[in-house]
């Protein structure tokens, strides 16, 4: 709702629903400035980009010599990962596709994955998270009131990819992070999924089921994978021409891919969480960030974005069904889910994290002592 203090960036479409947004004297927001900074760092000019891609691919192949696979790709069945699967095969890599099944897969997701691995001849490895544990952890996040309730799934994906890379002796994880479609991501809307301390703290307070098999990755494990096993990420989309609509056309034609009608909606949870929960409870409309990224990347005009934003973030009739679906799936009453949505929002900083550990009392004391 435009209020007295409502302001929208004049270059992208981010607005004051991001509580931390700052505008310069021209009315351009901090996200735009941040985008410009990282874009120049990650997006190379034509010619150099192809060279960088070629170099990296050569290195990945060299590191994978003598092994069954030379890289790991995450495969969710969504646009980014499907496109990456197609591209790495075209580039002559031998990927192992890894899928984290968090219990929310739609039929579309599994059939997309099936088509991709069949048509491209890629081996698939899955880790199915015990539903009782995933459910309990996701409920803990709901009950805690923090915005980023996708942390349990996101953390599990990170952990599963790293564990698979380690188990199969692969050093490169090809990832879908990219400047073209996701350079804008307000800090206030979320929190890093890597922070196991944060996850444990929230689960300890609100969870009921012991996490026995849930895939996790602590700071120490991360250090082991990165520093000792030399596992690295390759954000390949930054080195490719990446236009989402063209990518969709291509994977539809080549892989029999079918559309979900929303970003990251291959998981029914993410769909509910992004297009309903965040909007209702926090007033965060993820489409703002998504369209802003596209506008800044030049694959959408600002006017197109504004027109698209006039459509409501969710369909009221359908959302009624989805609310029921999610409550039923999570084994709680619909009224309880509604109560969770209506309860006061909390910030991630209200809960322990690695970040808070750095500034905790004893850390300060140790730092003082060391001085």
């Amino acid at each position: 709702m435009p209020s007295a203090s409502f302001q929208r960036c004049r270059r992208c479409v981010m607005d004051t629903s991001d509580p931390e947004i700052v505008f310069d004297s021209d009315g351009v927001c901090n996200h735009c400035h941040f985008h410009d900074q990282i874009r120049s760092r990650y997006i190379l000019p034509a010619g150099e980009r192809e060279k960088a891609l070629e170099q990296r691919i050569r290195r990945v192949k060299a590191e994978g010599r003598g092994k069954k696979y030379d890289c790991i790709i995450g495969l969710s069945g969504g646009v980014d990962s499907s496109y990456i699967a197609l591209k790495v095969k075209e580039l002559g890599l031998r990927p192992l596709a890894v899928h984290m099944d968090g219990g929310w897969n739609s039929e579309l997701a599994v059939s997309n994955i099936e088509n991709i691995v069949d048509r491209l001849g890629i081996d698939l490895f899955t880790n199915v998270v015990e539903w009782d544990e995933m459910r309990d952890l996701q409920l803990s996040f709901f009950r805690s009131g923090v915005p980023n309730c996708d942390i349990p799934q996101d953390h599990a994906i990170i952990a599963v990819l790293l564990k698979a890379a380690n188990a199969f002796g692969v050093r490169t994880i090809v990832r879908g992070l990219n400047i073209a479609t996701e350079s804008v991501l307000p800090q206030a809307w979320g929190y890093s999924a890597i922070d196991l301390r944060h996850i444990k703290a929230i689960h300890k307070k609100y969870g009921q089921v012991k996490l026995k098999t849930f895939p996790t990755c602590s700071i120490l494990e991360l250090a082991y994978y990165y520093a000792f096993k030399k596992i690295t990420y390759y954000d390949i989309l930054n080195n490719l021409e990446y236009d989402k609509d063209k990518a969709k056309e291509l994977i539809t034609a080549e892989l029999g891919w079918r559309d979900y009608g929303g970003k990251h909606h291959e998981s029914l949870f993410t769909k509910f969480f992004q297009s309903y929960y965040l909007v209702k409870k926090f007033g965060f409309d993820k489409r703002l960030a998504h369209y802003s990224s596209l506008v800044l990347a030049g694959s959408m005009t600002r006017d197109q974005a504004l027109v698209a934003l006039e459509k409501p973030p969710y369909d009221d009739d359908r959302m009624h069904l989805e609310l029921n679906f999610v409550a039923n799936k999570m084994e709680i009453e619909v009224v309880e889910l509604e109560r969770i949505i209506a309860s006061p929002p909390r910030r991630h900083t209200e809960f322990p994290s690695y970040k808070s550990l750095l500034f905790s009392d004893w850390a300060t004391r140790i730092r003082k002592f060391l001085k």
Partner: protein, 254 residues
Amino acid sequence: MKPFRIIPFLLLENRRLVKTIHYRNPRYIGDPINAVRIFNEKEVDELALLDINAATAGINYEHIRKIVSEAFMPIAYGGGVQRLEDIRTLFQIGIEKVVIGTAAVESPELVSQASARFGSQSIVVSVDVKTDLWGNRRVFYANARRKLKEDAVAFAQRMVALGAGEIILNDVDREGSMKGMDLPLIRSMSQALAVPLVASGGAGSLGDLLDAWQSGGAHAVSAGSLFVYKGPLRAVLINYPQDSAVQAALSKRA
């Protein structure tokens, strides 16, 4: 429509979906409710559920009710069925067919009573065949731990005479192996029975299912691993052949 019934066979253990090999080492493969939803979308004609824990823990009616309420297709249930009362309750919560296993061996009168009471079309007897220590294929029961002296075909015939409307032949030796089905065994049984035979155990491809139907004479074929695993690493990925794929495979054979 498919010319024969293709039935995904799902194993339950404490509300979790699992997959075994030779009825052993259950591996977790997901939440049954989500699996059923995916099978709905894939327009699966029928499902078979077997609770491998029910014999000791009892039948979890509440959970089965939930699964049934999510399913668009008829469901056959087996596991822990011991009394007429169990069968009645299962029908009440929406189960279409009840599979009797151990109880059919230990108290065969249950089969005749159930059939008389609820109609033979809804009473299925499961015949678990396994190779014994002497290398003979025998009927086993009680989670494939106890052996029956009677020949498998003779046992199945006796069950049909008691009123079983359908026999499901479970090949324990091949269960979970994906190495193909025992066609001679399927054939000998399908030829000897006047009721539909569901062949189960060992299917690793659509071709195996077609074999069990075409050369084995089974009316229906059932598979677990085939519909939940993908590829050499046995990745968990629910799948089910579309009618068109079945027709295409058939016309290739003709």
